[in-house]
């Protein structure tokens, strides 16, 4: 299982703040950020909102790059550049 979270404008755009995915879907493992992103981008209208470079990704609360590994049970968050402070 992968727990996927969305924050800020992305959460609003996608209309949901979280979802739980099977680690292995359609015979494919969602074992990297790239694989998970590609899988999510298949949903209607989600492609542009999840594009690399426009959203950041954190795996288990650590900012992560495209090739970062995702293990079964991970928490993966997608979000826009941060604007706190």
């Amino acid at each position: 299982m992968i727990n996927v979270l969305f924050f800020g404008q992305l959460r609003e755009r996608l209309g949901q703040d979280s979802m739980t995915l099977e680690y292995k879907v359609d015979g494919q493992q969602l074992d990297t950020v790239k694989a998970l992103r590609s899988y999510l981008q298949l949903r209607p209208g989600w492609h542009e909102w999840l594009e690399e470079g426009s959203v950041l990704v954190a795996v288990n609360q650590d900012m992560s790059a495209e090739d970062a590994a995702i293990l079964d049970g991970a928490e993966v968050a997608f979000f826009p550049p941060v604007t706190g402070g």
Binding site: F7, Q9, F79, G84, G85
Partner: protein
């Protein structure tokens, strides 16, 4: 030396006088206390706003804020360090963020305080929405903040 971190994310307001007192107490070796307080401005891009809504990613915020303060400790010899960030709905003139740092001599407290704010701006998972008569608008990150943050590396 007092090497205590106090890191809070809360919707409630904070009290500068109280935070200052905590930093000052039992800290006879530190001669310098620098505080930064961020307030909600009544304008954004020269247009009036009614307030802000601040969202965050709790599990990650705790981790990132702790990391930022620890990074400051590796760069400068500091004593107490406090970092408070508010979330939820805030109106103009309200306090958003507080950073307080003590050190024996002033330079470390100034620089560590700036560093914590600069990193917080680009690393900590908070998102800000401006609320106004014209509709609500998620804030775009500022290039200048990225430059300030990069400059410490």
């Amino acid at each position: 030396m007092k090497c205590m971190n106090r890191i809070l994310v809360q919707s409630a307001d904070f009290c500068l006088a109280h935070e200052y007192q905590l930093l000052r107490t039992d800290n006879p070796q530190d001669g310098a206390i620098v505080t930064f307080t961020g307030l909600v401005r009544d304008m954004a891009q020269d247009l009036p706003i009614n307030g802000l809504y601040l969202e965050h990613y709790p599990a990650m915020t705790a981790k990132v804020l702790g990391n930022i303060v620890e990074q400051a400790r590796t760069k400068w010899s500091i004593g107490g360090a406090t970092l408070i960030h508010r979330i939820g709905h805030l109106t103009p003139a309200e306090q958003i963020v507080f950073v307080g740092v003590t050190s024996q001599h002033r330079e470390a407290a100034y620089l560590a305080n700036m560093f914590i704010m600069d990193y917080l701006k680009t690393q900590a998972p908070f998102w800000k929405k401006e609320l106004s008569e014209r509709g609500d608008k998620w804030v775009e990150p500022k290039v200048s903040d990225q430059i300030k943050s990069d400059h410490w590396e």
